[in-house]
Symmetry: C2
DNA sequence: CTGAAAGCGCTTACAG
DNA sequence: CTGAAAGCGCTTACAG
């Protein structure tokens, strides 16, 4: 049989209210009472019934995290950070994959399990802001990473993609590279993150007075190894080929490295490679990969904190734009002199 | 304001019970009443309060899925299947990562959110059965993939690892290979799955009257690309080197393929490679990877069904050993003649 | 500082 | 086939 508050109260010879006070760390309980109740709590092994608590308080302490794909290491690592950050706030995270498909994203926002979560951390690929607005009584939402198309009025947490991409490009410039290619250029205007990164790239080139060569901008279908490998092959067939490549994520870069290796092109002496995300494998591949490392912990921490704000303290505050830091991690794929 | 059953009842001019009957698809409601109530339900946009329902029924319809690492594509894909299978039973899945560490696994089983889930799908790496027994009032558990050490008394769902490994090895034998190496051999006895796969490998060799050469059995620290790559390098330094490699998962095989490519060893003509898991990338890498494809959908379906059984129908039934099917998927890494 | 009591929204015997 | 009512376990004004 389950141990209820009432059982503990009887055991300790106090009222239910008093036990509840102790359980919830209420301030005004005499030490003697607290101690006695705590003992009863321990002896009986009391565990609160979360459903009852939720029913009473109207909060579930559950938040959902909706991501395109857990397969992608970046998202898997980010999810892990979010789970930990949420734990610190006493929140449990429900992870769900949207596959970046609009229909699934819509499903998530309108609540696959309605009235079930207190808030939503959302990394949308396809959804537009209008879609979000239309849904009646959707839970508080904080956008993570991807920004909804124009006019968004929800908190948004991300790295400063423009600045980060500029930094990455600048790094290649500083190595003396002149023909700096991009793998992962935005295939369409809806690819918001890619557009921002491209903007950063352009700024760096402008500052270095290097002319933009559109031939060097390669879009991809997906952000996977295979796409990176294929794009790199295309680039190597150019005359002259690039002397550096900025890949818009590490997976693409890993694919590019593979092609370079196959073709016997030396990295970094002939072609320097830089990625974005700093996934685990980038440390272990050979050559190890120079990359932009977004502060995933900060990203998760800011997002959860913003959501908590919206959930309880200030549901109607003006939407915030929050940036987590990043750093450039130099590894073998850009270390060393030009050939 | 939230719409309650009571509001709908008032709106439709019936009692709360009747509305509840309609919501829960109770059989004995006249069509006229059902229709009228349904209309009120729709008009008011009623959504049941799940906390209240849980409090009343004692069930949350939440199950947890505890996996070592979501980063690993196999687990990510499996998780996706589990989520879908659970949906069919009206269950929501709480995914949590244990990192394969005993401490985290213990945490999960004893309930990170106690009294919160109806059941647990669990893929343990470190936990022993005794640990499970010791935990008072742990939820119904079904083991997925990994088997707890001896004496387990919980349902277990997996592919027949011995049979699958035997099939894989036999395939290499049929190609005429004689020196068949293994990457991913069990580093210790606790690596249960690896031990089973090794057993299958041995059986296939025995049947083919090929002598076991322990030099060809390479253990790994982790089941990642880098480990596969390193192991392959070791194998190529043998004299003579192997003419085929059975990798105990696809990630290892992907790493092995990379090394083979770097060293200019032809696949499959000089060395044939086979993996295990059939992760997405195996279809897209070059050469594409022959592999054992466990029926992940069946695995997830069986696991969820078994858990549902234990949760409601037959909590104390004798533990079952359930096997999902597998098939050998032939791709480029083994297709073609020997050099 | 502590107690008695109401009520969160639902399901479910129990009547009828 | 439908209704009135109890009760799941908790929190929280309200008294004292």
């Amino acid at each position: 049989m389950r141990v209820r508050l009432k059982d503990v109260a009887d055991h300790a010879g106090v009222s239910v209210k008093t036990v509840s006070n102790v359980v919830n760390n209420w301030e005004y309980v005499t030490d003697a009472t607290r101690e006695r109740v705590q003992k009863a709590l321990d002896e009986l092994g009391y565990r609160p019934n979360l459903s009852a608590r939720s029913l009473r308080t109207g909060r579930t302490n559950l938040i959902a995290l909706a991501l395109p794909r857990l397969h992608e290491p970046y998202f898997a690592e980010l999810a892990d950070c979010v789970v930990r950050a949420a734990e610190d706030h006493g929140l449990t995270v429900l992870i769900s994959q949207t596959d970046g498909r609009r229909e699934r994203e819509q499903q998530v926002v309108s609540g696959f399990r309605p009235q079930f979560i207190d808030g939503l951390l959302f990394s949308p690929l396809a959804l537009e802001w209008d879609d979000l607005e239309e849904i009646p009584g959707h839970p508080p939402v904080v956008l993570l990473g991807e920004r909804l198309a124009a006019g968004g009025a929800a908190d948004h947490v991300a790295v400063d993609n423009v600045a980060a991409a500029q930094r990455a490009t600048q790094h290649l410039v500083e190595l003396g590279r002149k023909r700096i290619a991009v793998i992962g250029a935005p295939p369409s205007k809806t690819a918001r993150t890619a557009s921002l990164r491209l903007e950063g790239y352009k700024r760096a080139l402008r500052k270095a007075r290097i002319r933009l060569d559109k031939q060097l901008l390669l879009p991809v279908n997906q952000l996977h190894r295979a796409d990176g490998a294929a794009a790199m092959a295309t680039l190597l067939d150019l005359a002259p080929p690039p002397d550096a490549v900025f890949c818009f994520n590490d997976l693409l870069a890993l694919g590019a490295l593979r092609t370079l290796q196959e073709r016997g092109v030396a990295v970094p002496s002939e072609v320097a490679v830089i990625g974005f995300d700093d996934i685990e494998e980038s440390r272990f591949c050979s050559p190890s990969l120079t990359t932009i490392s977004p502060d995933k912990k900060a990203l998760a921490g800011l997002a959860v904190a913003a959501l908590v704000q919206r959930m309880s303290v200030a549901p109607d505050a003006a939407p915030q734009e929050l940036h987590a830091g990043f750093e450039l991690v130099e590894r073998e794929s850009t270390m060393g002199r030009r050939a």
